[in-house]
């Protein structure tokens, strides 16, 4: 009940805030005048195709249909002197590196629960910044979100070790097919904690977004979400072993936790009839098929 009331309170706050904002919404600016002088597009091809860019659409929608130089000047500053000087590059703001990021963040500055345009790990330096991945002038068949190229290629340009794992390992998620990309599991605008791995809205590991049958809740749960996570046993970036497991043999995989050699940890010892010298017992999941959790069997047999 306490949580419900908190939820209702949050909703009420949202509605009230929005209502007051409607009441206080500023009057729309007068229609922008049509520029009669030289246009950026006279010299810059990027400006010609920029009319269809999301930035132009957003600017036009917010400024009564204004287009043209005003859109360019939003990021590049007043171009009058630049034009008067015949295109002197020192008289116009060019965006690159961290200064480019600062410009992007004049608008794109809002944070979310686990991500932040202000403080994302990928927005914090001259070496890695917004323009490392995005090309705001990208036209036509360019990638979604004005990315410079395919997201996987962009990520691989720095994370070569991860790319190497996907290339090398026989058992890996299908990134090369395009059905998945790095950003399905990682938020590039995320903060650093836990490698910016996404979660479901309910706070579960992102894995269950696809592997929904592993989600539970189970009457007899195993590791996932309770004592560990999916990565306790699986390697999402690829593994030499089937099912992207972390160990070559199932018995070792299980016994590393299920050995009562430590104090104060969870993981019971298998009974003595599990004779590992017999093939029948070397693969625990031959019998314990419901290893991700069972609705009906305490020993995860079904």
């Amino acid at each position: 009940m306490k949580h419900l009331s908190l939820g209702v309170a949050a909703a009420a706050l949202a509605v009230l805030t929005a209502g007051s904002a409607v009441a206080q919404a500023p009057a729309k600016p007068a229609a922008a005048k049509v520029e009669a002088g030289p246009a950026c597009a006279d010299c810059h091809d990027e400006a010609k195709i920029f009319a269809a860019n999301p930035h132009t659409r957003a600017y036009s929608a917010a400024h009564n249909g204004a287009v043209g130089n005003a859109v360019c000047e939003t990021c590049h500053g007043d171009g009058t002197k630049h034009m008067e000087a015949g295109g002197d590059k020192s008289l116009i703001k060019t965006l690159h590196g961290r200064t480019g990021t600062d410009t992007c963040q004049t608008c794109h500055k809002q944070s979310a629960e686990r991500s932040s345009f202000w403080n994302s790990v990928h927005a914090s330096s001259e070496a890695v910044n917004c323009l490392s991945c995005h090309d705001i002038h990208k036209p036509g068949f360019g990638q979604k979100a004005l990315l410079k190229s395919d997201p996987n290629k962009i990520c691989a340009s720095c994370h070569q070790d991860v790319k190497a794992s996907f290339t090398a390992m026989p058992n890996a998620h299908r990134l090369k097919d395009g059905v998945m990309s790095c950003v399905n599991c990682h938020d590039p605008h995320g903060r650093t904690a836990n490698h910016a791995v996404r979660q479901t809205r309910a706070g579960e590991p992102v894995c269950v977004t696809c592997h929904a049958e592993k989600r539970g809740p189970f009457v007899y749960p195993h590791v996932t979400g309770v004592a560990g996570s999916c990565t306790s046993c699986h390697r999402p970036h690829g593994s030499p072993y089937p099912h992207q497991l972390t160990r070559a043999t199932i018995a070792n995989q299980c016994l590393e936790c299920h050995s009562t050699l430590s104090t104060g940890t969870l993981g019971s010892q298998p009974p003595s009839f599990h004779n590992l010298s017999l093939p029948r017992y070397q693969n625990c999941t031959t019998c314990h098929t419901a290893v991700h959790g069972s609705q009906r069997d305490p020993q995860l047999l079904k």
Binding site: A11, T17, R98, W118, A127, G140, Q160, A164, G216, P217
Partner: protein, 646 residues
């Protein structure tokens, strides 16, 4: 049948898209459609378990993108559709992003993945030709999100997700002191409907979403042909254990309402404060009917028996909430400080009523007995609490340098109340565990004249472990160095070191795990028409931990070792209307499991005109399993595709 179906679907999609484009000729449109041939030598089941690209008709790629309004599509001024590998499979997708500025935005995603698993040497140590745990399943995922009046003060949001997994398989079931192979038919569907609104009132904005998730699963199992003799070749207490019939059907339903609210506000132009609250309450019910006949033994009831029926009914509840807040302060240009706190609580409260009837029972010494009925009522409870505090500062305005420093503290509190029915060997299955982790992290970057250096490190220090492979200390360091000369040359190198250990993992030695990855990469584009790249990597991982053998309680060390060498090359060439791209890679792994993996391919394109062309694509995967040579395979795929760009 699958090829015919994929051909039909491919044709239908192409026809639909083509008719749409015909009405709006000017919309940029690019499609590549054709047929992919497949040739596999060696172990096809291993190929399907690892790669699973199939033969058949394929939409290799489809792109439609426009940012203009067309008479034929008056309801959009932005339309983007991307699709790839739809048809023969094993993995394809379609994404649509459409909208009318300031009016609506619609995003739709479809993903199809075909899973196959038949791993003889791994999931079936008994070595029969068909793996005991084998499946051939298809996952279809749809996701649609509609935002109305995006960017306005109030933006209503409606979303729907469906995720269906279905298909046949084989599994095993340990029953009556033997394991029997069962034919399995599984279908699960996970759906979520979401309704909510985002609001943007200038300094205050946020989002409130209410979702209803519903999971439904049916599973039907019957004794597989020839599965009745089981795995156990020796009698149990002098009696052969065999199954004549074995069936099980189960129905699982889970309902989960999820409420989330997020609010952010700019208290000052340079100070952003945000808060969130999420609550979900999963309620699951499961009903199962199971029956078996044959000759079985049960140590639990100390009897032989010839028949069995059971109707377990169970329910699982999981109530979770998390809440937190964060402040981000833009101190001055290039200097930021932020701090956040999150608290999370999840409680599982589960019950099961297991009613079992054993018929035709006799004692282990041969005396006939009446039917035996057992009724087990179990109740399990788990509570997990977590608190996380993090503080971070970044300075990105130090000339060519950027610095980031952070500290976080996570407190975990786990209480597991197990039921006596769960306990086979007493110990380590329940109780309370508390773990506290301190993490210190930092990063430094340097950038000048095309030279980039990025280094990051984190050091974790925990006071306890929840499972034996949880670390007590963990160090992670990563370096990336690149030099870029214009658009024609890039040289890069990566190094990653990871060390973690737990000194309390065993009586004689600790749990240790290390990982060392080194990669170097080179990209040369001497002209716009020629593209060359190469990479070399060493991937090394080692871990060890003492474990206890169940049969005699002796201690031995579980060791995992990987030592891999990767070479990866690519080249591309464009001349007028022709282009050719190729790649080749080799990965050689030694250590606990020896194998070598070759991957290669080439793609040639001839753009006969601005509107049409032909593409030929060849890819090969060659897996040489040194440990278990019967697992090796070579798979060649050759695709011939027509390109059309009206």
């Amino acid at each position: 049948m699958r090829i015919l179906r994929s051909a039909f679907l491919t044709a239908a999609l192409v026809a639909t898209v083509a008719s749409g484009v015909a009405r709006a000729q000017a919309i940029p449109f690019d499609i590549e459609v054709g047929y992919r041939f497949l040739s596999v030598t060696g172990n096809e089941e291993q190929y399907r378990s690892q790669v699973n690209e199939r033969e058949g008709f394929l939409i290799r790629s489809l792109h439609i993108a426009t940012d203009q309004k067309y008479a034929a599509f008056p309801l959009t001024d932005k339309l983007r559709l991307d699709a790839a590998d739809l048809g023969a499979g094993g993995a394809g997708f379609l994404r649509l992003d459409a909208g009318l500025t300031g009016i609506y935005r619609l995003q739709f995603t479809y993903r199809n993945t075909q899973f196959f698993s038949a791993l003889q040497g791994f999931a079936n140590p008994l070595g029969v030709s068909v793996g005991q745990q084998t499946w051939d399943r298809t996952r279809n995922q749809f996701n649609v999100d509609l935002e109305v009046l995006p960017g306005k003060v109030i933006t209503p949001i409606v979303g729907y997700t469906s995720n269906t997994l279905s298909g046949p398989g084989y599994t095993t079931y340990h029953f009556g002191q033997d394991e029997f192979q069962l034919s399995q038919n599984l279908r699960s569907n996970d759906q979520e409907l979401r309704v909510g609104a985002a609001f943007n009132a200038g300094v205050v904005s946020g989002e409130v979403i209410q979702g209803w998730r519903k999971y439904h699963e049916t599973e039907d199992l019957t004794l597989a042909p020839f599965g009745g003799s089981g795995n156990n070749t020796t009698p149990v207490l002098g009696q052969n254990v065999t199954a004549k019939t074995l069936t099980r059907s189960s129905l699982t339903d889970v309902n989960v309402p999820v409420t989330s609210a997020f609010v952010r506000a700019f208290a000052l132009p340079n100070l952003q404060i945000s808060g969130f609250y999420v609550r979900s309450n999963a309620v699951g019910d499961d009903g199962t009917k199971e029956a078996a006949s044959g000759s079985f033994a049960s140590f639990a009831i100390s009897r032989f028996f010839t028949g069995y029926s059971a109707n377990p009914n169970t329910s699982a509840n999981s109530l979770s909430w998390r809440a937190g807040g964060r402040a981000e302060w833009h101190v001055m240009s290039g200097v930021d400080v932020m701090a956040g706190y999150t608290e999370r609580d999840q409680t599982w409260d589960n019950q099961a009523l297991l009613a079992e009837l054993y018929t035709g029972t006799s004692t282990f010494t041969g005396f006939s007995q009446a039917d035996f009925q057992s009724l087990i009522s179990t109740q399990t409870n788990i509570e997990r609490k977590e608190k996380q505090l993090d503080v971070q500062a970044s300075m990105r305005n130090l000339g060519p340098f950027g610095i980031r420093l952070g500290y976080s503290k996570i407190d975990q509190d786990l209480t597991v109340v197990e039921d006596p029915a769960e306990i086979v060997v007493p110990g380590n299955q329940g109780g309370g565990v508390r773990r506290s982790i301190n993490r210190y992290e930092g990063a430094v970057t340097f950038s000048m004249h095309g030279f980039n250096f990025m280094g990051e490190a984190s050091y974790d220090d925990a006071n306890a472990a929840i499972t034996r492979v949880d670390y007590l200390t963990r160090d992670r360091e990563r370096l990336r160095v690149t030099y870029k000369m214009g658009d024609w040359l890039t040289i890069g190198g990566n190094a990653l070191w990871l060390n973690q250990k737990n000194d309390n993992a065993g009586p004689n030695s600790a749990y240790k795990a290390t990982s060392k990855n080194y990669t170097a990469d080179l990209t040369i584009n001497p002209t716009k028409a020629i593209r060359l790249r190469g990479a070399y990597g060493k991937l090394k991982a080692d871990s060890s931990i003492p474990v206890r053998a169940p049969q005699d309680f002796t201690t031995f060390t579980s060791v995992n070792a990987e030592d891999g060498e990767l070479m990866d090359f690519g080249a591309g060439f464009t001349f007028k209307e022709f282009s050719l791209d190729g790649f080749w890679s080799r990965f050689d792994n030694t250590g606990s499991y020896l194998f070598r993996m070759y991957r290669g391919g080439a793609r040639g394109e001839w753009n006969a005109s601005a509107h049409a062309g032909v593409a030929v694509e060849w890819t090969v995967d060659r897996y040489l399993d040194t440990t278990l040579s019967s697992q090796s395979y070579r798979a060649d795929r050759l695709g011939v595709y027509l390109k059309w760009r009206p």
